[in-house]
């Protein structure tokens, strides 16, 4: 009994074998043998970061003439000065223990710190900022901590910055090196001579770095905003220039750019539609003028174009101030009015009329929004339960609430009328998007019969 029995399907093996055949093709990187599936899954199928021993080597049997034993043997480390004897397990082949130095001794590297005599100090190394005692201390610590200047600065008795310590150390080493060399040419290739330590640059570098690292997220966001705004201004200036001087060879995609901007603008405007103040309806009209002028200018650059293309560009420019939702509602309204979204006979006159109609529908939708807003505002006055103080400036408060939190309509407005209307409009899929924006109070679409 399996799923096939339940579904009453014939018990053919065909689809399964097909599946099996197709799978290895889809997955060219197969799991290598010798690694369990669970472990391999942890790597996510990626190549390992470090080269590992090939798995085939792991499975290989050792040559039969070798007899391998492991023995607990003593060893000395040449990197130590105290001849301490320690023990470890050693792989012994055919009874002969390995000879030679301890294999990790070579990693015990030490820095050659320059030593200077008192004479040399008097002759070359005097510095008004440093006493001999301090310099001696510095060189002791440098030797002890292998030039780990952070640690040295921490242990240094008087307070000196890391940069000051580095500067003193490298300048002393350099001076000694040059002084001891038979001629300046012999040491000119030495890294200490060739690239002197620049304390001023280091201090500045660290200051800049700490500034960048200590920047808050808010500051970063502010910077990004300023840059975006600057870009927007240059784009609109270019568009305006193109409109003024159409003979300048401006790229024909100015129209496209302004269209892109339109989409961005639309998105940022749309989240606050029912807080839209009456004045907001007036503002876009000027930008429409700008956009259509720049669109016309960029069309002229093309030398030849299709009327339908021009209409598309103009429609985009005209709806630049509206959000995507609003644009969709304009198109819905056009359909409800029985008007083709794209005119069938796009002559100049038809296109002009079509554009005008679209603009009028935009105005209509704006007015609808306004009326709704005002009605809601009025009903909250009537209800009185929402506001404690009758004199509270309602409008600004609502606008302020917009970006912060979503407040369900029925609470924020307390208006019965609005609430009921909302109920009716609720369609499938409505609830899921409701919390994301307070915009859902707007009617979904306007029917031609409403007009």
């Amino acid at each position: 009994m399996d799923a096939k029995d339940i579904l009453g399907l014939p018990k053919t093996q065909l689809p399964i074998t097909q599946e099996k055949k197709s799978r290895p093709q889809k997955e060219p990187q197969r799991k290598p043998d010798g690694i369990s599936r669970e472990v391999y899954a942890l790597t996510g199928g990626l190549a390992p970061l470090m080269p590992s021993i090939d798995v085939s080597q792991l499975k290989k049997r050792p040559p039969s003439d070798e007899k391998i034993t492991w023995q607990w043997l003593s060893f000395t480390n040449s990197a130590r000065k105290d001849d301490l004897q320690l023990y470890h397990w050693v792989r012994v082949v055919n009874g002969i223990p390995p000879t030679g130095d301890y294999s990790f001794a070579k990693y015990n590297k030490s820095v050659d710190v320059v030593k200077y005599t008192d004479e040399e100090y008097e002759k070359y190394l005097t510095d008004p900022m440093w006493t001999k005692e301090e310099t001696d201390q510095l060189f002791d610590l440098c030797e002890r901590f292998d030039l780990r200047f952070i640690v040295i600065a921490d242990r240094f008795p008087s307070s000196r910055t890391v940069e000051e310590l580095k500067d003193r150390y490298y300048s002393v080493s350099r001076a000694i090196l040059i002084a001891r060399a038979p001629s300046p040419g012999d040491v000119s290739g030495h890294p200490l001579v060739k690239e002197p330590y620049n304390i001023a640059q280091e201090v500045e570098r660290k200051r800049a770095l700490s500034m960048v690292l200590s920047q808050t997220k808010q500051q970063e966001r502010k910077d990004a905003e300023v840059l975006a705004e600057a870009k927007r201004i240059t784009v609109s200036r270019m568009a305006a220039q193109a409109a003024e001087e159409p003979e300048l060879p401006v790229a024909p995609n100015v129209g496209l750019e302004s269209a892109d901007r339109a989409v961005v603008l639309g998105d940022t405007v749309s989240p606050s539609p029912n807080g839209q103040l009456p004045s907001a309806a007036i503002v876009p009209s000027t930008s429409i003028m700008d956009d259509s002028a720049s669109t016309l200018a960029s069309l002229r650059m093309l030398r030849v174009y299709l009327r339908t293309y021009a209409l598309e560009q103009m429609v985009q420019a005209a709806s630049s101030s509206a959000g995507l939702r609003t644009i969709k509602r304009v198109e819905q309204t056009l359909q409800d009015l029985g008007v083709n979204l794209k005119p069938r006979v796009p002559t100049k006159a038809v296109c002009a009329e079509h554009l005008e109609l679209r603009k009028e529908i935009l105005t209509l939708l704006n007015l609808q929004k306004q009326l709704q807003y005002k009605e809601a505002e009025g009903s909250s006055y009537r209800d009185g339960s929402y506001i404690d103080m009758p004199g509270t400036p309602k409008r600004s408060q609502r606008a302020g609430d917009q970006d912060r939190t979503f407040v369900p309509d029925s609470i924020s407005f307390g208006g019965e009328r609005v609430g009921k209307r909302d109920q009716k409009r609720k369609g499938p899929g409505r609830l899921s998007e409701a919390p994301s924006s307070p915009a859902h109070k707007r009617p979904r679409k306007m029917k031609a019969s409403d007009l």
């Binding site: 159409p246 069309l299 002229r300 093309l302 030398r303 030849v304 174009y305 299709l306 009327r307 339908t308 021009a310 309204t333 056009l334 009015l337 029985g338 008007v339 005119p343 069938r344 006979v345 796009p346 002559t347 100049k348 006159a349 038809v350 009329e353 079509h354 005008e356 109609l357 009028e360 529908i361 105005t363 209509l364 007015l367 609808q368 306004q370 009326l371 005002k374 009605e375 505002e377 009025g378 006055y381 009537r382 009758p390 004199g391 031609a448 409403d450 007009l451």
Partner: protein, 273 residues
Amino acid sequence: MINSSSSKKHDPDQPEVSGPAPKLLRTKMSKPEDTEKKNLNKKLKDVEISVPIVYGNIAFWLGKKASEYQSHKWTVYVRGATNEDLGAVIKRAVFQLHSSFSNPTRVVESPPFELSESGWGEFEIAITLYFHSDVCDKPLNLYHHLKLYPEDESGPKSTKKPVVVESYDELVFPEPSESFLARAQNHPAITFPRLPAGLTLPPPVPTEDASKKKRGDTKDHPLGQCFMNFSEADELLQLAAARQQVQTHIAKLKRQISMVDGQQQQLRSTSDQ
């Protein structure tokens, strides 16, 4: 009408023209003529010439003669919207067919710009229009999706009734050269622009006698009865009706808004007391 009447005086052979061109002429023949010759290649601002075109295809099912790979005979074309000759504007049209056709790039060097083929599949045809040198040095692309099968497949297939798909559009030439403008003046295929005041044009170039020339128009086209009609007036009427509806609604909304405003004013004054 001064210009059109004077042009007839200059050139009595000028064929009678129909269409909207003469109606729009608002020029005065007042400026001295020597300046005009210099300006022949000058671009004219604020003037735009448009050429109404229709492009599309007509497809016939071959019926009994249909084979697996040759089920339809079709013609794709670019024609003047009123079937006028487009040869004055378009120099050549290049039809880019599906790569499965032999020589898929087909060049038509003279009007009428059309191409007939047979096949079984629908695909997008790119039509590149090249213009005469004084018209525009840039080509323009049109895209037409070849249609062979009717929308409702339920109806009986017929060899008599073709599938016709056409789109109306206009080629727009902003800032045309003066020589193109002069040629366009009395051309039936071209919508002549409203000229800005004070602008004058050289007398129209005499066009060749229509009878001598090879005919490029599609007025007596064998498939002419299939061509669709594109009525600007219908479209304008529809738009006007829609605009009126919207305007009435706007007025109504404005009244409602002012009413609500008035009520609130009252409420506010009462609640403040």
